[in-house]
Assembly symmetry: C2
């Protein structure tokens, strides 16, 4: 079959290379691959679809490396509460009622919001993961999916859940034209006994898949780990073998210098979730120190009940802003570094080596922002504007694997009205159950 | 003349009252005044214009209590630099070249961005203030305008600037159908000698106008004040008589308990600028302590070169998020309180007693957000969604004094294309001068 060829002319492309962050010119796409980006006009074969990229800023699709998308059904249901009250009185009772159908509509609502807002790849850790996979497949998005398992239950129940996680990981890895990959996830050191975590490490070895978990999100959780196991979470997971596997941990708010060194030495990625960490009052992760130590820091929204939106531009901006304010150093986490955290470092953290960059040879996962707006003027520095001024709503078009999924702000693959209606009905039903 | 009457049906109105934050029902407007908000259908006279408020969330217009709008021309021109480098090598040389025309286009760009983003009132402290007043008048917006004076110059130059500030304040106070009021502003304790500040205090008394200044934005500035005058800035301004006048200070990042008590005792308002304070690495203001002490804390964007947008939803959200993260208390600055900071506390801080609230008897300054969007679902808590999930781009309609200024996202009073073009040309000209 003749490959589908597309060319974008007159575009501004965020290539984020050292010394040159932006290129004005052309991008060629052949099927799902970027084959050229440059200032020089390339040879354009007959039959190539031509798009005018004027007044558009092209970025790599944003990559959300930690979340629980189905929790959008609980957005705004209990804010500004102490963590334990929020969890025990609000989240857990409602989540306990979630059916597969609820997960389907909650995930659909989140996928819609993410896609329209310029996220092209997301990690999801939840239950009823077949539903999440089904939505991902239908939407055209890219995702890293993993059944997050809480192990505070009987050995039989533990085994059932582990089997479920393994079955899911096996059956969906590489599916949806390769857009879905999977990971193995014990939920957290404080919700999984050590011997149970070791079983996940073994499964990760058996399936040759990376691992994901929550770690050191709150100070209490770290102190509890020391009480229960005599060591802090990093040493604990290190001993259990997790860091001998390719791993990504979410949060990593409370880390010592030594723990940062261990994460760096074992190439463990950290998904920084600034919005969620602030809202739940978990604290402020030591991002400048992590980056300095060579740890791969990416960005995640966490679930929409603790954020409360899925706007990755907001996480990028928070990552650029809060560490300046806290450290007193205005050069901490510069704009281009924050944008890399939301794109290429995200791809690296999810073990996806063909996305997260606008570059020949990469998958054509990219987005276009409308720069004909007051907050993008003057045209002084597009990377600065993307980081310090833009939001999800500035995204006009979105492509994954060279296929356009959002056009002029509308999602082409999902039925937005139906999803909003069904999500609202699902929430109302949960309230009355 | 028969008054113009408007009614909005089926709306959701953020009244932000204790115990009841939102009302679903009706709002009546007679000329520039809200005459009714309630669940019950009011009597609707013949000739009343009817608008369907379904799928819209109505909020009081947002109030931005500190900024330098013309600096939008320098948006993205020098980020992520040490403060002194940024000021001395980037901002001051460019600002030194600003003509009245530059201020006109820079302000126009900012007013456009603010209006479209739901801000209905802004404070502006800058130079060439006649231009800012002209733009305000034309746009239909409400503004508190003040010539900010730096006094590091000869006595003759000082006198000339003071006269200019006084003339401006006198001639524009109450103009544009009462939408413009004025203040008296020495720029800051570190840029104005004590005897010069006393002259502004006297002018404020003579003209019966309130005062505005920058104060305690950076740690250095506080230390310098102690070196130069033997006291910290609050005691310094107190001694100079400023706090015997109705006053609003911008920033107030570095304050002791005693200073907070003094501000509270003298009813001095604080314009909290979280985005700018983070970006310039100035630090994090003690907002929970200020609120607890009874200080009126409002929100400002500061200039667009240190923010870099004028999205007041972002400042509201930052105010709700960062103080939770820093204090470790998830109940710090709850959603409704953050929204009040961006609306009614803003009005109080600017000494405007008829805006900032949706309530009978208030001026009809209000905005409507489009809630038919994924990030507003489910319809669990609209105040939470407005604070934790919304952004400037969700604003669909804007009214000031009962007059619609933004309709379906388009500004009805300003020529957006022309403003964007002229602002870009102005920036390019500044670069080549």
């Amino acid at each position: 079959m003749t490959p589908r060829k597309q060319v974008i002319k007159n575009g501004t492309f965020a290539v984020l290379e050292e010394g040159k962050t932006v290129i004005s010119g052309y991008m060629l796409i052949e099927d799902d691959i970027i084959t050229y980006i440059g200032e020089e006009e390339p040879q354009i074969d007959e039959g190539t679809e031509v798009m005018d990229g004027s007044h558009l800023l092209f970025l790599p699709g944003l990559i959300n490396t930690h979340g629980h998308t189905a929790m959008s059904l609980l957005r705004g249901y209990g804010d500004d509460l102490a963590l334990q009250v929020w969890l025990q009185e609000k989240m857990w009772p409602m989540e306990g009622k979630f059916t597969a159908q609820d997960v389907y509509w909650g995930t659909s609502l989140s996928v819609l919001e993410m896609l329209k807002g310029g996220t092209t790849t997301f990690l999801d850790m939840y239950d009823h993961m077949d539903q999440v996979a089904a939505v991902t497949k239908q939407s055209g998005m890219r995702a890293v999916l993993t059944r997050g398992v809480i192990g505070l239950c009987s050995p039989e129940e533990q085994q059932r859940k582990l089997n479920e996680a393994v079955d899911f990981a096996k059956s969906w890895h590489g599916k949806a034209d390769g857009r879905i990959t999977t990971m193995i996830s014990p939920h957290a050191p404080y919700t999984c006994p050590p011997d149970y975590i070791e079983k996940f490490v073994q499964a990760s070895i058996d399936l040759d898949l990376p691992m994901h978990t929550h770690m050191s999100e709150t100070r209490n959780e770290v102190e509890q780990n020391v009480k229960d196991y005599g060591v802090r979470p990093v040493e604990h997971l290190l001993k259990l073998g997790m860091f001998s596997r390719p791993s990504l941990i979410a949060h990593g708010v409370h880390l010592t210098d030594e723990e940062i060194s261990i994460l760096a030495a074992h190439q463990v990625g950290v998904s920084h979730n600034p919005g969620s960490n602030l809202k739940l009052a978990s604290g402020i992760a030591r991002v400048p120190e992590l980056l300095k130590a060579g740890v791969k820091v990416s960005l995640g929204t966490d679930g929409p009940a603790s954020n409360n939106n899925l706007d990755m531009f907001e996480e990028i901006r928070l990552a650029a802003l809060i560490h300046k304010g806290v450290s007193g150093d205005p050069t901490a986490v510069p704009a281009a570094e924050a944008l890399r955290m939301g794109t290429e470092y995200g791809a690296d953290s999810l073990f996806l080596n063909q996305v997260g960059r606008l570059k020949a040879g990469m998958k054509a996962d990219f987005i276009a922002l409308d720069t004909d707006q007051p907050h993008f003027l003057p045209y002084s520095d597009f990377i600065s504007h993307a980081v310090y001024s833009a939001s999800a709503k500035d995204v006009k078009h979105v492509w994954v694997d060279g296929r356009q999924l959002v056009k002029n702000g509308a999602c082409l693959t999902l039925d937005e009205e139906k999803i909003r209606r069904e999500a609202q009905l699902a929430f109302e039903a949960l309230l009355t159950q």
